[in-house]
Amino acid sequence: MDFAEVSNTAMVMAAVVYLFAAIAHAGEWSAAQGLDQRERRTSPARELVGAGGPGVVEHPDAADPKVERAWLRVEKLGRSGVALTVVAFAVHAVAVVTRGLAADRFPWGNMYEFVSTSLLFVVAVHLVLVLRAGQRWLGLLTTMLATVGLGLAVTVFYVDVAPLVPSLHSTWFLFHIVAAAVSGAAFNVGALASILYLVKARAERRGEVRGYLARLPSAKAIDLLAYRAHAFAFPLWTFTIAAGAIWAQYAWGRFWGWDPKETMSLVTWVLYAVYLHARATAGWRGTGAAVIALVGVVAYWFNFIGINLLVSGLHSYAGI
């Protein structure tokens, strides 16, 4: 097998393992259905440390062995979800690296390579959260995104290994595309967190924080994570657009030409500026800002997939 075949096989395998990870995480969520967080705290040490958190135990002996077993199952499913994600991530990384080796260049020369690399970054962020901060709750959405994204990549966007067209031979293109992949990954993580924020904030407002939702951090903490992801991504996205403009100046002699791709990048940028403003505006922060963050990520994906497939432009990526 040459590198290209290794890469193709690994990419499909990674998608499948992500699917299993998503199933495990979905099991984790559904196993927690109907369980009340309050009933599982048994260790007396918890009482002190846990003070102030949601649904804290007051009576250690309230624990019922059946409930305890149910929580253990949730825990097991969650852990296997993480383990599967780690496996999928490793296979995914192999797929991306061998793709680069096969093409003898960085693996982001077309839509297929861009999606697979970008998703690798998304999963990496999630795993950092799991391993460094013990935050597993993004697992379900992340693995779902990775499954769907890689699935689309190998079925719809796939192209064989090939060299770059001349207009892509540029250092600025390299900056442009790496920044786009990394900031895209962070926007996606931010969007996933925003979804969970909306769900959790709604439950908190109604006072119905039950099942897996009770295990999520408070809506405020999720919001903070979403904000951090966006705050990291936004300057990088600004840089992405600037680097793209500089590259366009070299390649086409105009740094901005209202090409559909350029336009949608700007629209995405403006939407995220709206998000940052919304967070500082009474009546918009919280739910309003989270919704705008989701509109932003839809614009990002539309720019990436919709524009490539529906509208023709100068970008050589257009039409896969």
Partner: protein
């Protein structure tokens, strides 16, 4: 915006304060607001002020930004006249009703439509109205002392206490030194120390917003004083940079045609290579044009290799390689037996395989004029679809033409399209059976026209390159604004303002030290740690557990995730507090 609110503010309120400050501290006379004007109608000045206050409010900025994003979308989805005029026409042809409606509201030229301009101009007015008062407030805050020490440090989001043996003044001195070391701005009062840092956040924010204004100025300047022109140059020929030698030009209102850089160049060679392998067959791999450049009359010529990403820069003017194509080299002999045309004729590529269309006009032919129109195919095949090219490189070049003749006419000076033939007044040459006479030529071949009207020879073929000559003044300003914007943005998003206060007092023969801290923005961690650490440096910390209990009572920083605790259910690790 002011950071000078002295009292500790709840975190969610800081941003409210920000918003109020952002409008310059003037509160708008809103409904139900017992404004000094009472019930009487607003005077024009007040009305203007009300308008201004609202225009420069954060909420308006938000709405305008959102509007801008929405307004830009049609331009991404519909073809736009400046870049794709033909697509626009065919779009309107296919959807006449909707097309005409879209056209009337400017959807086919969104970015020069008045409503689009209105949105961004309002946004930038709002922006300026926002920056000016905020800069004033910021400069005042820079000169101000760190805020007064709150009475009860224990009620701040983070607080800690410790005891020390030294005198109050010594403890405060040590606190000052320590906080200075941590790059706080420190102010020592009689029984306390107040410290603040993170002033750069607001500075970064102001720089960012200001650079957006500068960016717009740079763009406007470039659009007004710049120009962009195209010229097609066959390989082996030259080009002198004068306005008359351009094929087309677009320029801004302040463009001065006298100011063109006086350079000249010849295209000595052009190399194009295409993918011949099975993957992405026909995709471009190499484009290179070898030029000889003379920067000004009399200067020494030098060679330059022009590539797609490597433009030539001469005296502030850029030369880009933007397209290439084929030009058959032909010789036309007229009915009198004289050579009436000989040379290369650029044909225009129609598809990715360079099926190229063009016209050969031998107006000097006598007794009748001759003209030809048809296709040049670099790799020709003829099948049931008719003649077409199957590869962009010239592996099997052929020329397919039809011919016309007509009476000689006067040159009337009206410019004509060089790539197509206007056949009015001409008669198509037909063969004996009445069908149009079809010419198919390979390099070196000659075809005689029927009835002794003359002949045409394909001598060979050449490539041509399309060069874009452009000058964009203000490019440096624009680029500088972008760099400043990104820098300011990073400061604004990553610098986190923080305030810390230390108070010490003598009690029962010991010095009781209280430390309190407050973050002025979201997404900052480590406040508790810093406050605890500082208390530990200044004295002996009090019992950990009692602090925890206090912390729970305050409940402001304690929302660490429960999954983390769940993990510990098995691992039994200790809670490490907030982590990044």
């Amino acid at each position: 915006m002011s950071r000078d609110t002295a009292a500790p503010v709840d975190r969610t309120d800081t941003t409210d304060a920000v918003e109020a400050d952002a409008v310059g501290g003037i509160s708008a006379p809103q409904q139900g607001d017992p404004a000094p004007t009472g019930a009487r109608a607003l005077r024009p000045v007040e009305w203007l002020r009300w308008l201004w206050t609202n225009l420069t409010s954060m909420r308006t900025a938000l709405a305008l930004l959102l509007l801008l994003a929405i307004a830009a979308v049609p331009g991404a989805l519909l073809p736009q006249r400046p870049t794709q005029p033909f697509e626009v026409s065919s779009w309107i042809e296919q959807n006449p009703t909707l097309g005409r409606f879209y056209d009337s509201i400017g959807f086919f030229d969104v970015y020069s439509a008045p409503w689009f301009a209105a949105i961004y101009l309002l946004l930038f007015i709002s922006l300026i109205g926002c920056i000016v008062p905020r800069t004033r407030v910021y400069l005042r805050a820079l000169r101000a002392r760190p805020p007064r020490t709150p009475r009860n440090l224990g009620r701040l989001p983070a607080a800690a206490t410790a005891t020390a043996d030294e005198a109050v003044a010594d403890v405060l001195e040590r606190a000052r030194v320590e906080l200075r070391r941590q790059r706080f701005r420190v102010d020592v009062r009689e029984d306390s120390v107040a410290a603040e840092r993170g002033y750069l956040r607001e500075a970064g924010n102001l720089v960012f917003h200001l650079s957006l204004v500068v960016l717009l100025v740079g763009l406007a300047w470039g659009a007004l004083a710049g120009y962009r022109a195209n010229v097609v140059v066959p390989v082996g020929q030259g080009f002198a940079n004068t306005i008359t030698s351009y094929d087309d030009i677009t320029s801004g209102g302040r463009f001065d045609p006298e100011s063109l850089a006086p350079f000249a160049l010849t295209v000595d060679r052009f190399t194009a290579e295409f993918e011949t392998g099975p993957v992405q067959q026909g995709a471009a791999r190499v484009f290179e044009a070898d030029l000889t450049v003379t920067e000004e009359p009399g200067a020494a010529p030098y060679p330059f290799r022009l590539e797609v990403n490597k433009p030539l820069a001469v005296g502030g003017t850029d030369v880009h390689l933007i397209q290439h194509g084929y030009a058959p080299r032909v010789t036309v002999t007229d009915g009198d037996g004289n050579t009436s045309f000989s040379g290369v004729v650029p044909f225009l590529p129609q598809d990715g395989n360079f099926t190229s269309a063009g016209a050969i006009k031998a107006w000097d032919s006598r007794p009748e004029q001759l003209a030809f129109q048809g296709f040049f195919l670099p790799t020709a095949v003829v099948d049931e679809q008719g003649p077409r090219s199957v590869f962009p490189d010239a592996f099997e070049p052929q020329l397919f033409l039809n011919a016309w003749y007509g009476p000689p006419r006067e040159e009337n000076g009206v410019p004509e399209n060089v790539y197509s033939l206007d056949v009015t007044g001409l008669t198509q040459i037909t063969s004996a059976d009445g069908d149009p006479f079809r010419i198919r030529l390979e390099p070196g071949q000659t075809v005689e026209l029927p009835d002794g009207r003359g002949s045409i020879t394909m001598d060979g073929w050449e490539r041509w390159v399309k060069l874009q000559i452009s000058r964009t003044p203000g490019l440096g300003l624009t680029l500088g604004a972008v760099v400043a914007a990104v820098t300011g943005l990073c400061l604004s998003l990553f610098v986190r303002p923080r305030r810390i206060w230390v108070r010490a007092r003598r009690e029962d023969g010991r010095t009781l030290v209280e430390v309190g801290g407050l973050d002025r923005a979201d997404a900052r961690t480590g406040l508790d740690e810093q406050v605890d650490e500082l208390a530990g440096t200044l004295g002996t910390r009090e019992d950990e557990a009692s602090r925890q209990a206090q912390g729970a009572g305050r409940g402001t920083t304690g929302d660490e995730s429960s999954p983390r605790r769940a993990e510990e259910h098995d691992g039994g690790r200790d809670d490490g507090g907030e982590r990044d």
